[in-house]
């Protein structure tokens, strides 16, 4: 059984083959295409299990690998599975499998199922490629491919203009980050002449400090884009235009965590520069609190979860900035479970109510007890209530950050309190009070319910797996810090109390965010107005520049001067040979004259021979 880890490349190949099959034969299969697609993450999970077993049994380093020259001398792509990869394969395989199952029930038979499930399988393969790559080139390939899958799935309902716009925005924003990563690769190639991890990491000690910092910074730019950290976070809230299961998988549990994975994977580079670490800590801490504030002001259940994801990724970045990438990986794993759970729970609610608006929900506890019960587990885990998974991992994050920088530690405590606030407020608005929407909401079929139960189990229990998770990631599991844990729990209870009060009983159709301070709330809801700043300072000027270059420079000056020469020549030509009429004759004359002149020039140049 553990032998399948030897064929690690298959975590890319199998999903790709399934994607092609789903795309081509999907129409024949009907709804059974979901079963076909489910094989892709199931295989990834199986390899993850086999590889994890071998790592936990004591195998050191990469347990299996292979590579091939892909782009000329030295530029190879290859794969290697170590504990960190195995851990991520487990996460990706499990969440993706459950999301495929959930999607089967979520998307009706009238949907474009072959396209949806083919891209989902493609995503699984691309994400696996990112994870099993043995170097930066392979990682970059997977990195770009998951981005395009994200684009295709955000824009799944492409006849909705908002979905299309959000898809483009997501791709372009992350592309800006990707350019940092690309530049990092170019710099690494120049400095090392090899892009495989082993070669790069071996070369780091011999590099100049400034070079190491530059490489770290460029890698960070890529990670910031993918993991939606300030200032490249703006795409993620809009990405909620995609189907909710997609948001659970790509925009919460796996792809957006790729930035964290990159920084952990490249730790020998990132960790070699104190400056880079400080920047990561500041960006992460700032993003964590700013996004948590925005999450508290949302009216749309998915937008709450989107800002929550940005905020939680900020926690992970802060942990990396504090030097504890193993802790960040622990939080990545627990977050994957409870955030996927919350997103799928939101999907269940949206499926039942037909809306994402919090003011059209309420009272669903009685109508959808299973969704409500599993949601409570996820919400409590996110809020950091012991003994659920989020409590353990967040405690470690807070503990390490406080140890590294007390100021940012305090900020993270505040963000953590806000977290408890916004998720409680949302919970109350969705599940308590009386139902304010239309129709009679009820639980979905087994395919909607089973993933919720499985994820709830993981969200509840993963905190106790901190040891093995840390061991897989390649580090050591810390002890619970009683003081930090007590303060965090007390603050969580405070956040829950305020959140519960703020969420109680809005009337039907009432603006659920209408509290005493409306202005700041709108500001928070719109992501602190940062979107608008980007639109005014980047998007608009860029488009205006393109238009000016086209109309004024290219057509106005460059082309007009060419046409002007032509027109002048015609004019001279008319005067010169008034008897002749028609362009063709004149051009013939011109060609003749030109040829004579050229021959004269040739004779002149060749005179020495």
């Amino acid at each position: 059984m553990t032998g399948i880890a030897t064929y690690g490349w298959s975590v890319v190949a199998v999903p790709l083959v399934i994607a092609v099959l789903a795309a081509t034969a999907g129409r024949v299969l009907g709804t059974r295409v979901a079963a076909l697609a489910a094989l892709a993450p199931a295989w990834v999970f199986a390899v993850g299990v086999a590889a994890s077993a071998r790592v936990l049994a004591g195998e050191e380093g990469a347990i299996a690998s292979g590579s091939v020259e892909w782009l000329g001398a030295g530029l190879t792509v290859g794969w290697a599975i170590d504990g960190l990869t195995a851990l991520m394969l487990l996460v990706v395989g499990l969440v993706a499998f459950l999301v495929v199952v959930f999607s089967r029930g979520y998307l009706g038979p009238g949907e474009a199922l072959p396209r949806y499930f083919a891209v989902l399988a493609l995503f699984t393969g691309a994400m696996s490629a990112l994870l099993v790559a043995d170097g930066f080139l392979g990682l970059f390939i997977g990195w770009e491919l998951v981005g395009v899958c994200s684009y295709l799935l955000i824009g799944y309902w492409f006849t909705r203009p908002e979905a299309s716009t959000a898809a483009v925005k997501a791709f372009l924003t992350t592309r800006v980050g990707d350019m940092g990563l690309l530049l990092a690769l170019a710099l690494l190639w120049r400095e090392v002449g090899d892009l495989s991890y082993t070669a790069v990491f071996a070369a780091v000690p011999g590099m100049e400090a400034s070079t190491v910092s530059t490489i770290g910074l460029l890698l960070l730019v890529g990670a910031v884009g993918k993991s939606a950290q300030f200032p490249l976070h703006i795409w993620l809230p809009d990405a909620m235009e995609g189907p909710t299961p997609v948001s659970a998988l790509i925009h919460a549990a796996t792809m957006v965590a790729a930035g964290v994975f990159l920084l952990a994977r490249a730790w020998p580079v990132v960790g070699a520069s104190a400056d880079v670490q400080t920047i990561i800590l500041v960006l992460g801490g700032f993003t964590a609190i700013a996004a948590a504030g925005s999450a508290g002001a949302q009216r749309d259940i998915k937008k709450v979860l989107a800002y929550s994801t940005i905020s939680q990724l900020g926690f992970m970045f802060a942990a990396i900035g504090a030097g504890a990438w193993v802790v960040a990986m622990f939080h990545l794993v627990t977050h994957a479970a409870f955030k996927a759970l919350l997103f799928l729970g939101a999907g269940s609610v949206i499926h039942a109510t037909g809306t994402q608006r919090l003011d059209a929900m309420g009272g669903l506890l009685k109508k959808m007890p299973l969704t409500a019960g599993t949601w409570f587990v996820g919400a409590a885990a996110l809020a950091g209530i012991p003994p659920l998974s989020g409590f353990f991992s967040k405690d470690e994050v807070l503990h390490t950050v406080v140890g590294a920088d007390l100021g940012w530690g305090v900020m993270l405590f505040a963000a953590s309190t806000l977290t408890a606030f916004y998720i409680t407020r949302t919970t109350v608005l969705v599940f308590f009070g009386s139902y304010r929407g239309e129709g009679v909401p009820h639980e979905g079929g087994w395919d909607l319910r089973v993933p919720l139960v499985v994820l709830a189990a993981f969200a509840a229990a993963l905190g106790f797996a901190g040891g093995p998770i840390a061991e897989l990631a390649g580090g050591h599991h810390g002890e619970i810090d009683v003081l930090v844990a007590s303060i965090a729990t007390a603050l969580a209870v405070l956040g829950i109390a305020v959140g519960a009060v703020s969420g109680i009983r809005p009337k039907q159709g009432a603006d659920v965010t209408k509290l005493a301070f409306v202005g700041p709330l709108r500001w928070a809801r719109n992501g602190w107005g940062f979107d608008e700043i980007v639109r005014q300072t980047v998007t608009r000027p860029a488009c205006a520049t393109a238009r000016v270059l086209d109309r004024v420079v290219d057509r106005g000056v460059v082309d007009r001067s060419v046409e002007g020469v032509g027109a002048l020549a015609r004019l001279v030509g008319r005067g010169y040979s008034a008897l002749q009429s028609g362009d063709t004759q004149w051009y013939t004359t011109l060609l003749g004259a030109g040829t004579v002149a050229l021959l004269a020039l040739v004779a002149y140049l060749g005179r020495g021979v």
Partner: protein, 481 residues
């Protein structure tokens, strides 16, 4: 080997066959043309056994020197990928003009004539022969645009002709100077004795001028958009697919080896031209409302990577240039093919008038999205390996000066996704709700190109295996590694 000469002779025989057997028929010429263009592909494939795919150089047969003084053909690692591209695009161009019924015999004869002259450019091992083929390319293209083009075809055809002819006039002076001063016309002999050149700087720039117009480099690019917009689909396919490649090919084949030390001094200029082209072309593409013009201007951006790669002066940079040329030779034709199919159904190219075509034309939309993703350089498709290598090689040579290229790559994503969004996404336009999706016949050339795009994207070594030795020799001349 005779097969080398057949690469020129087969399409020429095809011209004769189309004229002799196809006149007066609307459908027979296309069948004959397809047969001969596929025969070209078969001849090229047969050269694989001679090791062409692994970079072995193969000479054509030696004809009587007295009767054919300049006729020497040779295929090597530099020309093989571009001939492979020609072999793919020949049948694609014929299939793309399957619906042409007006003066069909002349149309298909010109297509084959174009294919013969382009093959000649890539095969010529004699500078005079090279120049003859180089100019011969212009004539069929001029008529294809001028006769079968769109509304403003005459102006565009004339602009194309005069512009590129003017460029090659400089090149002619450069070539003749080299011929007179070295006393040879054979390419190898000219290059071997190029050290005798009295004015190498002048010769280099005269030749390079012809190449830069062809590529095209900014600011001598404005013939391109007009020519593409007005050209019929098959014309655009061959124009973007192989004509532009003559420029990059010529720089590596002739301009660089004839005056390596001048090239060395010219590298910064080429880099600036490349970088400006990448950014400027992408920005222009972003501002277009005419879908075909958008694709045309994207060529300026992509071909900038060819100049960037060459400017690095290293084998890796040259390999990047070759990969970009082959990739662009597949992606741009696919885009032009698809835009042409859309135009056939809607008679407009205005992005603003399209909406929700993804629901109306699902098959077409899938291919168009695919092509746009290939154009923006998605890994796994053909655009990525070359552009990645160009960035790596460019960074090695020019360090952080290449950052504007990064901006160009972001813009490439922007204009391609804008094209997809503008045409395919949004609410379904009632105006086009009734039009039919592309047929199986339309699919064939598109799927052939798409398959090649995937193949090259997954396995770029296919091209690099061909180019290896030839590029190493040129890089050794240039003094790089």
């Amino acid at each position: 080997m005779l097969a080398v000469d057949l690469l020129v002779a087969v399409p020429l025989l095809g011209v004769a066959a189309v004229i002799a057997l196809g006149r007066g028929s609307a459908t027979r010429p296309r069948a004959i043309a397809l047969a001969f263009s596929v025969a070209f592909t078969a001849v090229f494939a047969s050269l694989a056994s001679a090791g062409v795919l692994t970079g072995t150089a193969v000479d054509g047969i030696r004809l009587a020197r007295e009767a054919f003084p300049f006729w020497t053909l040779r295929i090597d690692g530099l020309s093989a990928p571009l001939l492979a591209l020609t072999a793919v695009l020949g049948p694609v161009a014929v299939l793309a003009s399957w619906g042409v019924r007006e003066k069909a015999a002349a149309h298909h004869a010109l297509l084959l004539g174009l294919q013969a002259s382009i093959a000649g450019v890539f095969l010529a091992a004699d500078v005079i022969l090279l120049y003859v083929f180089w100019e011969a390319v212009l004539i069929p293209m001029y008529f294809l645009i001028g006769v079968w083009g769109h509304e403003d075809r005459r102006h565009a055809a004339m602009k194309f002709f005069i512009y590129t002819f003017a460029g090659s006039a400089f090149m002619l002076v450069g070539i003749l100077t080299a011929v007179f001063q070295t006393g040879h016309t054979g390419l190898a002999e000219v290059l071997d004795s190029a050290f005798v050149l009295g004015q190498p700087t002048l010769v280099f720039w005269l030749i390079a001028a012809g190449m830069l117009v062809k590529i095209p480099a900014v600011p001598v690019h404005t013939w391109l958009a007009d020519a593409h917009v007005e050209a019929p689909t098959a014309g655009s396919i061959l124009l973007a697919g192989v004509l532009l490649k003559m420029g990059g090919y010529g720089l590596l084949r002739l301009a660089l080896p004839i005056a390596p030390e001048v090239f060395e001094a010219a590298r910064p200029i080429l880099a600036v031209l490349g970088g400006v082209g990448i950014f400027y072309g992408a920005a222009l593409a972003l501002a277009q409302t005419d879908l075909k013009r958008l694709v045309a201007l994207s060529s300026v951006s992509h071909m900038g990577f060819v100049l960037l790669g060459i400017s690095a002066g290293t084998e890796r940079g040259f390999a990047a240039a070759m990969l970009v040329m082959v990739s662009h030779g597949l992606v741009a034709p696919l885009l032009f093919l698809l835009v042409g199919q859309l135009y056939d159904r809607t008679h407009t190219r205005d992005i603003e008038r399209f909406s929700g075509m993804g629901a109306t034309l699902p098959r077409w939309a899938t291919l168009f999205t695919f092509a746009a993703l290939a154009s923006l350089g998605l890994p796994g498709l053909s655009g990525f390996p070359g552009e990645f290598l160009a960035v790596v090689a460019g960074f090695g040579a020019w360090s952080y000066s290449i950052v504007p290229v990064m901006a160009g790559l972001v813009l490439a994503a922007a204009y391609n996704l804008r094209a997809v969004k503008g045409t395919l996404h949004g609410e379904i336009a009632e105006e086009w709700a009734e039009i039919s999706d592309i047929s199986a016949g339309d699919l064939v050339p598109a799927v052939v190109l798409a398959a090649c795009i995937v193949a090259l994207g997954v396995w770029p070594m296919f091209v690099l295996d061909m180019t290896g030795d030839a590029l190493a020799l040129i890089a050794a001349l240039a003094g790089g590694m």
